[in-house]
């Protein structure tokens, strides 16, 4: 797929409004005791939505050549795999040592 026309100013403003609303929700969730049990997954999902909105609309990956998505998405997935692997290795080794 080749490059397409970028988003309009209206789209940029709508994305900005959504980003601000999600940030308010994130901070709200942080302060509401009822959400404490589900805090981590909720915050990670909200953060991922914000990340995707900026990358797709402000960095134009939604409209640009798919090769750029590959150039960005490949290392991003690798970085995510490194983070998850390191957490498993480190916390796994602690559990083995402590017998927990």
């Amino acid at each position: 797929m080749g490059e397409q026309a970028h988003a309009t100013t209206g789209t940029y403003l709508r994305v900005a409004a959504i980003l601000v609303i999600i940030t308010f929700i994130e901070v709200g969730v942080f302060y509401v005791p009822a959400f404490q049990s589900a805090l981590v997954p909720v915050l990670l999902v909200l953060s991922a939505v914000k990340f995707a909105l900026v990358v797709m609309f402000y960095m134009h990956l939604k409209f640009d050549n798919r090769f750029f998505s590959f150039l960005f998405g490949g290392p991003l997935l690798l970085a995510l795999a490194v983070v998850v692997s390191l957490l498993f290795i480190f916390y796994g080794s602690i559990r083995l040592r402590t017998g927990m």
Binding site: E3, A16, M59, L76
Partner: protein, 199 residues
């Protein structure tokens, strides 16, 4: 092969794949930056909750203040896309305005970070105080250094625009600057959640 409207003028450097070579190189650079910040975030998470002495994150992190910094950086991303859209349609008056607004919002973010770091230092959290201090300062400091580079880059473009040396033909230069700036923003989106909200 279709190209974006902004790439149709004299500045384009297309590869055999039909994409701009500078943009392709910059996306590859951003990919490498993902690995850099991935390693720093991993280090922070691995040492999270393992400090033997305080101050601890919940004692020192200021969520309302950092929420404002996050809002500031999100608005700077909006200003950046508006600057790019203006330059692409040849409206340099608006282009100059939004470039300056983006740089100023970046400076406000940096001012906030300087205040936060100095406040934490006076509260007793230094780089070598505990594991939280070491990983926090290295992660957020590296991000701050990236914001600093971005602000200098934006101000350079703004001065070029003031001198009439930046126009519609240079839209790709502004787009690449924007890619860098938005990447700095998405990194902060992750840091805000991982460091500040998930304590």
């Amino acid at each position: 092969m279709a190209h974006a409207p902004h790439a149709a003028h004299g500045e384009a450097h297309h590869t055999s794949m039909g994409v701009d070579s500078r943009k392709m190189a910059f996306w590859a650079f951003i990919g490498s930056e993902c690995l850099l910040f991935g390693s720093l975030i991993s280090t922070y998470l691995i040492y999270k909750g393992r400090s033997q002495v305080g101050p601890y994150p919940h004692e020192i992190l200021n969520i309302p203040f950092t929420s404002f910094s996050t809002f500031d950086l999100l608005m700077s991303s909006l200003a950046m896309v508006l600057a790019l859209a203006a330059v692409q349609r040849g409206d340099m008056k608006q282009g100059k305005l939004w470039l300056l607004v983006t740089a100023l919002l970046g400076l406000i973010f940096l001012g906030g970070q300087v205040w936060e770091f100095s406040h934490f230092y006076h509260e007793g959290l230094g780089l070598t105080t505990n594991l939280f201090g070491s990983t926090f300062y290295v992660l957020t400091g590296t991000h701050g250094a990236h914001v600093t580079v971005g602000v200098i880059w934006l101000l350079t473009l703004w001065v070029q625009a003031l001198r009439g040396k930046l126009g519609r033909a240079n839209a790709m230069t502004v787009e690449i600057t924007g890619l860098y700036w938005h990447f700095v923003d998405v990194v902060w989106i992750i840091i805000f959640t991982v460091v500040y909200l998930i304590q």
